[in-house]
């Protein structure tokens, strides 16, 4: 990363998640996370320089759904604001870029979506090749299962390892007040449960989650004022691969490897990693791509297997690492976000506490 870049840190993070919420609408999920993240930062709402959100109109089945989200932000007087139709981790990237340009020193990022409104696994079939795949209607779980099969066939992982990932994640999720799924089940218990999407079991698949999350970024001295221990972004990079599943090597995540290299993951010790793993088999693939040593704790929050508010899940990974840095539990960590079928596009963010 170029030394000319500004130091930017996470100084506020909030999440608000639920399991199939029939009461609240999207705006009602966003209001508390925006309020709480801003309150944590201590930066007055109207001093926040730039606002960016990430969401997907198709989750709610209507065009321009993201516009409603703006009602929760307090966009008056008018604000500098943008939106990406991507996981909010990429909205955070856009906000980080804006701070780098130099005309703003802080940013509010929020991501939201209610995956429970439609059949979310079916909706994202519309991301597939419109001519040769979409008319077949494979679900996202179907495609993930194909990747799991390929990974097992190539000895990148195995059924027991999947169960161990799931068991560890669900146990960790129990301790996470925001997670909506979580239980105490050993790998053996999980292995005895039925395989529902060969080779995946239900415990290997992230739960349908409604929710929103928000992060506040600040630069330099503003960050030091806003947080006793800011979580500095030392590197943030993303890369995309070709769409077609058959063209890619599904047993590896090349774009994650490239992003990790560019972001400088290997420049220091990785004490914790939060990975955007919506399916257990993605963890060994991503560990390898990120070059994580076997003893690096992955998804102490429980990860997406504990809660998967699509469009906010990647942003939450960044928030979870930042939280542990700010709490002083770790001094350096990696957050990962993904979108597209079978890990097509990946973002890697390296965060670090103040090095005094």
């Amino acid at each position: 990363m170029s030394p000319a870049l500004r130091d930017v840190a996470v100084v506020g993070f909030a999440q608000n998640l639920a399991d199939h919420d029939r009461e609240r609408n999207e705006v009602e999920f966003i209001i508390p996370v925006v309020r709480d993240a801003i309150a944590q930062s201590g930066i007055p709402r109207h001093d926040i320089g730039f606002t960016v959100s990430g969401s997907c109109d198709y989750l709610s089945g209507g065009p321009f759904t993201f516009v409603q989200g703006l009602d929760a932000v307090g966009a008056w007087p008018p604000i500098k604001e943008s939106h990406v139709e991507m996981d909010a981790a990429w909205a955070l990237y856009e906000a980080w870029v804006s701070i780098q340009v130099g005309d703003v020193d802080s940013a509010l990022i929020y991501g939201f979506g209610k995956s429970s409104l439609g059949d979310v696994h079916e909706i994202f079939n519309l991301m597939n090749d419109p001519y040769s795949v979409m008319p077949l209607w494979p679900s996202t779980v179907d495609l993930a299962a194909l990747q799991a099969c390929a990974a097992i066939a190539a000895d990148v992982t195995n059924e027991r390892e999947l169960a161990e990932v799931a068991s560890r994640s669900h146990t960790a999720a129990l301790a996470n007040p925001h997670a909506i799924a979580g239980r105490d089940a050993s790998a053996d218990v999980l292995l005895a449960e039925p395989v529902t999407h060969v080779p995946l079991r239900d415990a290997d698949i992230a739960p349908i989650t409604d929710g929103a999350a928000a992060i506040v970024l600040a630069a330099g001295d503003l960050a030091r004022k806003a947080s006793s221990r800011p979580a500095w972004i030392r590197g943030i990079e993303h890369r995309i691969e070709p769409l077609a599943l058959g063209v890619r090597d599904l047993t590896r995540s090349e774009s994650t490897r490239l992003a990790a290299e560019a972001a400088g993951v290997a420049d220091g010790p990785v004490e914790v990693a939060e990975l955007h793993t919506q399916f257990s088999h993605e963890e060994p693939i991503l560990r390898a791509a990120l070059g994580l040593a076997p003893d690096v704790p992955v998804n102490p929050s429980g990860g997406p297997l504990g809660a998967n508010p699509i469009m906010a899940t990647g942003l939450i990974r960044i928030g979870e690492v930042a939280t542990r840095i700010t709490a002083g539990d770790v001094s350096r960590g990696v957050a990962h976000a993904t979108q597209g079928p079978c890990l097509q596009q990946n973002l890697v963010c390296v965060l670090e506490g103040e090095t005094n």
Binding site: N25, Y58, D71, P130, A145
Partner: protein, 320 residues
């Protein structure tokens, strides 16, 4: 405990999306219609199936077609125990597979029709079962089956048929949408013949209809304020476009922004009860309620003049 307000919602472009394919995809689909698989040679010599228009790694436009298949080998598979009937290729449980056709260097996705998952394996050789009626679609293959498990019927192409240039893709998505807590309160008010707006604690601005927050501050609008069902037309237009909505009256009809007495935001509604060319800014109107009141915006059918003198422009000017 009041019932949650839920409504079914269908997102579907009537008739399906009409997608033009361009020459490369068009040729692939024409091949399928003719009972033939074609891949395309990438920059590094690999044969890509299904053919991509552009090299996945160099972005170069590709043009060299290579016939492949019809049989191939499964490189990955999974099982669909509960097919999405009417969407997925088969109505009974089946396998998805990535299939590398003979001569191809990349695998394509399709269904494999077998009775149980134990019939599937990585390395299984499969062959296509073609539909008798083919139109130039990935679904011209009904499914793949294990090689040799049935005769391979190779269709004969129709002579003189035009190349495929497009496909039609029906896309229906179903949702169950909830109203939200703040909108629900307002909608229940409508079911009782009342218009109940909301404001935030620190503000006197009453929002009708409310969406949960005061947009200027982001604060929740927790205080309910009943407003009148009578108000002023602040601006309007005469709609002369037929068929915009099932709910639209005969053209010409008037759509207006109406500032209800006590509210600080405008209501978008229909104006009826007078000729369209007599509607004017400042007109005083009252809501005409439906005979049967339900927690839905349709409880107010439209607004009609209530006979009061027009509101002077200056007093609603900031809303117009």
């Amino acid at each position: 405990m009041t019932e949650v307000l839920l409504e079914q919602h269908v997102l579907e472009y009537p008739g399906g999306y009409t997608r033009s394919t361009g020459p490369v995809v068009g040729r692939f689909l024409t091949g399928l219609r003719d009972g033939r698989f074609e891949g395309i040679r990438g920059g590094d010599g690999t044969v890509i199936v299904p053919p991509t228009e552009y090299d996945p790694y160099t972005a170069a436009a590709l043009s060299e077609f290579v016939e492949v298949g019809p049989a191939g080998v499964v490189t990955a598979w999974t099982w669909v125990a509960e097919p999405r009937v009417g969407k997925q290729p088969l109505d009974r449980p089946f396998a998805w597979a990535l299939i590398k056709l003979d001569g191809a260097d990349t695998a394509m996705l399709h269904a494999v029709a077998v009775d149980a998952p134990d019939a599937m394996s990585v390395g299984l050789r499969v062959q296509p079962r073609w539909r008798t009626e083919r139109i130039g679609s990935i679904r011209d293959i009904e499914a793949f089956v294990p090689e040799g498990s049935e005769p391979l019927v190779v269709p004969s192409p129709e002579p003189d048929a035009e190349p495929v240039t497009g496909i039609v893709t029906p896309t229906r998505l179903d949702y169950e949408i909830n109203a939200g807590i703040a909108p629900s309160k307002y909608l229940r008010g409508l079911a009782e013949g009342k218009v109940i707006g909301q404001r935030a604690v620190d503000s006197d601005q009453v929002y009708v209809p409310p969406r949960g927050s005061d947009p200027t501050s982001g604060e929740p609008t927790e205080i309910e304020v009943e407003v009148a069902d009578v108000g002023t037309v602040t601006t309007f237009c005469v709609v002369n476009v037929p068929g915009l909505s099932e709910l639209a009256p005969e053209i010409p009809y008037v759509c207006a922004q109406i500032l209800l007495d006590g509210a600080n935001t405008a209501w978008f509604g229909l104006i009826q009860g007078l000729p369209a060319d007599e509607v004017r800014m400042g007109l005083r109107v009252k809501a005409v309620w439906a005979d049967e009141l339900i927690p839905n915006a349709a409880s107010i059918k439209w607004f009609e003049p209530n006979g009061e003198p027009d509101t002077p422009y200056e007093s609603y000017r900031e809303y117009a």
